[in-house]
């Protein structure tokens, strides 16, 4: 009996193995016109851009901006717009006449007007758009608010949410409410910005209207109600389960004839390790996980079809200081820290593919520095090569003393502080670990503290840190030094660090406040000569007064496989620079134009 059972078991196992190997080899050799990627999405799927998790990784496949912008070449690639004109504060967009929703309805200017009203009502953004009106079914005119930066035109043209987020024929019953909330929200915003007092009654009315709209819109699930999600993009979500999201080609898309990829299939990005393994096995055609150097080498060895292209993520990772802490108000200490840190070591252990921070901390991303900061300006600046001796000299001159490998301030207090770092960002944690080690070795007493998941904003905004790892200069949205400087001196970094950006700082060209310089740069953004002059001053102030100490320029490593697909751009191709801030844009551009396709 026992023997028979064993025989049956062995036979069963053998058959299972044989069939599973058949199945595997079939799957491996089967030719499909799918693009396989990894991402996240809300489950159960609702298809509502305002619902929790929105549409996840499907965003750039289902929504189309008016145009794509290629930072490397400065070229705009028209998408929903055929063309556009700018006249002062007015932007007129001429919509593509053959653009249609995936249910066959025409895409018109009313859809754009509807979308802007909804996003202003639901997200309280972008109030920079004062009015938007449909001139005719294919022409829409945006008028910017008087204080809005002209660079916002770029945001209108390239932001995926601006044109096609909310189909009028699906959301029309809330249009009136959305319009009302948006108008009231704008009024409150403009009054507040111009220093006027907004009455409590107006605020209450806004809250009442806004929450009534939110309650209704947030609950809406087109995917459940309509059994589909009409989109203007090249793909519509058609099958969504916990582990897989399938997008099918929109046959009404204006590039449908060129596009030979029938489906985009997403696997759940459950962990980096899952993505590594999926890349090795050829289960994914492309992904962008952070991968240690040795893992990349091993993966390329196992799967020779795997290629890697790194592009700047248009941001730098930096050491930021809380300027409410008197320790960091001392420029000498900040300069000493800048000299002590070996950025290359930090880069190696954190993100080995990252671009080095360079020897000047100008606030311009290191990969873009030669384009924006001239050599004459650089020659006036301090060069931060790693040098413990230089750091010691600066500190000793400033009255700091060192006893038993511990530095003391001129008032005889130990130089000790805590470096906070956001725990879920692995590369930041690795960078922080290395920075702490280097600073401790030099003679500062530094401890590392992890910020728990979901608490980064709270900790940073409330100033409950002494020193932290954060994004420094970042060019998200509008890839220009102005965006980076605005972040450092007016927006996020200025707010969380309390750097005195309105104070005047000495420069070879006179005394300037970086806050005012950013304003001036914003006004002169289209005057390249004037803009370059202002950037030199800002670069000098950033390098000499160190609001942050950059560690490295973040890059996006894109791993792509040529096993099943052909048409990946060459390494020098400018289209790769479309990836930061929405890598799916790059894939969407390549497949819709028929460049990337199945072999």
């Amino acid at each position: 009996m026992k023997k028979t059972l064993i025989k049956i078991f062995v036979l069963f196992m053998s058959l299972t193995l044989i069939f599973s190997s058949f199945n595997f080899s079939f799957a491996a050799t089967k030719k499909t016109s799918d693009l396989k990627l990894a991402s996240d999405w809300p489950y159960p799927f609702h298809g509502n851009p305002f619902g929790p998790g929105a549409v996840g990784g499907a965003w750039w496949f289902v929504y189309e901006p008016f145009a794509y912008y290629i930072p490397q070449t400065g070229q705009y690639i028209p998408r929903l717009a055929e063309k556009w004109t700018i006249n002062g504060s007015k932007l007129t967009v001429y919509l593509r006449k053959n653009a249609k929703w995936s249910d066959g309805r025409a895409f018109t200017a009313q859809d754009v007007v509807n979308t802007v009203a909804f996003i202003q009502a639901m997200w309280q953004w972008p109030y920079e758009i004062q009015t938007v009106r449909a001139i005719n079914p294919n022409t829409v005119e945006f008028t910017l608010w008087k204080d809005a930066p002209t660079s916002f035109m770029h945001t209108i043209l390239t932001d995926g949410a601006m044109g096609s987020l909310v189909p009028y024929h699906v959301y029309s019953k809330w249009y009136g409410q959305a319009r009302q909330v948006a108008e009231l929200g704008k009024k409150i915003f403009y009054d507040t910005q111009s220093g006027k007092t907004v009455s409590d009654e107006t605020k209450k009315q806004y809250e009442k209207l806004s929450s009534a709209l939110r309650d209704q819109v947030n609950k809406f699930s087109p995917y459940k109600t309509l059994k589909r999600m009409p989109v203007v993009g090249a793909y519509e979500p058609t099958k969504i389960i916990q582990s897989e999201m399938v997008l099918s080609k929109n046959k009404y898309h204006w590039l449908a004839n060129k596009n030979t990829t029938e489906r985009v299939v997403f696997r759940r990005w459950s962990s980096n390790e899952f993505v590594w393994a999926s890349l090795v096995s050829g289960e994914l055609d492309a992904a962008h996980p952070n991968m240690p150097k040795d893992v990349v080498e091993q993966l390329k060895f196992i799967n020779p079809n795997l290629n890697v292209k790194t592009v700047s993520d248009l941001s730098e990772i930096a050491l930021i200081f809380n300027f409410n802490n008197k320790l960091f108000k001392d420029l000498n200490l900040r300069k000493a820290i800048a000299y002590v840190i070996d950025k290359n070591k930090v880069k190696d252990v954190s993100v080995w593919q990252a671009n080095p921070a360079g020897q000047y901390y100008t606030g311009v991303l290191s990969s873009m520095q030669s384009k924006w900061v001239n050599s004459a300006t650089l020659s006036k600046m301090t060069k931060y090569t790693t040098s413990a001796a230089s750091a010691e000299n600066i500190l000793k001159k400033a009255g700091y003393t060192k006893k038993d490998n511990q530095w003391y301030t001129p008032s005889n207090e130990p130089v000790e502080f805590v470096l906070s770092v956001y725990g879920p960002h692995n590369d930041w944690v690795l960078a922080a670990r290395e920075v702490v080690q280097q600073l401790n070795k030099f003679g500062f007493k530094v401890e590392m503290k992890l910020i728990p998941d979901g608490m980064r904003d709270q900790v940073m905004r409330s100033g409950e840190y002494e020193c932290a790892i954060e994004f420094g200069s970042a060019w998200w949205g509008y890839p220009h030094p102005m965006t980076g400087y605005a972040r450092l001196y007016q927006w996020d970094i200025a707010n969380i660090t309390a750097f005195p950006s309105k104070e005047k700082f000495n420069t070879p060209w006179g005394e300037y406040s970086p806050f005012d310089l950013v304003e001036e740069l914003r006004v002169n953004i289209n005057n390249s000569k004037k803009a370059t002059e202002i950037i030199q001053k800002l670069a000098y102030i950033t390098n000499e007064y160190l609001p942050v100490v950059p560690l490295f320029e973040k890059v996006l490593p894109i791993y792509y496989s040529s096993a099943r697909l052909t048409g990946w751009p060459s390494a020098q191709d400018g289209r790769w620079s479309l990836a930061p801030g929405g890598i799916e844009r790059l894939y969407n551009l390549l497949i819709t134009e028929g460049v990337l396709k199945a072999k």
Partner: protein, 291 residues
């Protein structure tokens, strides 16, 4: 007092004959000594050297080097203090709370018994991770010491033990010798500590060893939540780096990196388990059948 001395003498003499207890004891003693004296014997340099990452074990680096090019052996030795300290203290507190409340629940009846049971049940069903997140938010700015951290860890470990101990006590309290003690009007503390406790003690000891693993995992969670001081030489943190940051499982030449960390974790826990099993065999008359 004399009874305790007799028990100890009995234990030590039986120790000689119980190999499990002896080996377990030696392993634990080895790690405790490592925690106390290790850092004075094996100096630690945390200076990274990326070009020397994943060096194979050698005389210079007995366990090889890690992703940062740092000696793994030195980190294991220096990290032992945090691991042993936090894990053992946490396990001790968990066992203490679990035993007291477990015996109380098992012995007491009526509303007090039900109240204790409710407390145990609540702690059994509270999901520990969200609770830790809330605690992280509450204590984010506090500089907690080792005892406080251990108590936080113990808070989420004691309940299963309490439930199991209460079940054991419930079965013991109906035994004749307990009834006899009651008839002789012996005080409650006598019945609990003299009659019941010795019978559940081996079980508690085994549980103490098993709690070490849980305590180690929780401690890592606390470090990543920013509640406990981050110590990169904590074995759990080292293992996390190896598996999730450095991807050592995907790199053949990095085999030694997670291997030696896991080996030490297993050895420590295994030492605790066989020590507890040995003690159980020593003190439990049912398991000492060979005498």
């Amino acid at each position: 007092m004399s009874e305790l001395r007799i028990n100890l003498t009995k234990g030590i003499s039986l120790f000689k004959y119980n190999k499990k207890a002896f080996i377990g004891f030696i392993i634990i003693l080895f790690y405790v000594l490592m925690a106390i004296f290790g850092r004075y014997i094996v100096p630690l340099s945390l200076e990274s050297n990326f070009s020397e990452r994943y060096l194979a074990p050698s005389l210079k680096h007995p366990f090889g080097t890690d992703y940062f090019g740092i000696d793994i052996f030195a980190q294991i030795v220096n990290g032992a203090r945090t691991v042993i300290g936090l894990s053992m203290t946490s396990s001790f507190f968990a066992v203490l709370i679990g035993t007291i409340l477990g015996i109380l629940r098992g012995y007491l009846t009526g509303k007090i018994g039900q109240l204790v049971d409710a407390i145990i049940s609540i702690f059994l069903v509270i999901p520990s991770f969200p609770a830790l997140l809330i605690m992280a938010a509450i204590f984010a700015d506090s500089n907690l010491n080792m005892v406080q951290i251990s108590l936080i860890v113990a808070l989420w470990l004691w309940a299963p033990l309490a439930k199991q101990v209460s079940a054991q006590v419930m079965s013991i309290k109906s035994k004749e010798f307990i009834e006899a003690s009651k008839m002789l009007n012996m005080p409650l503390y006598y019945i609990v500590f003299k009659d019941i406790f010795p019978l559940v003690a081996p079980y508690i000891l085994v549980n103490f060893a098993m709690q070490l693993k849980g305590a180690m995992e929780f401690t890592i969670g606390l470090m990543f939540l920013g509640l406990a001081k981050f110590d990169s030489t904590h074995w759990g943190i080292m293992l996390n780096y190896a598996l999730y940051q450095a991807g050592a499982l995907y790199t053949p030449r990095a085999f030694h990196y997670p291997f030696f960390i896991i080996l030490n974790i297993i050895l420590l826990i295994y030492g605790g388990i066989i020590f507890a099993q040995g003690l159980e065999e020593t003190f439990n008359p049912k398991l000492r059948g060979h005498e």
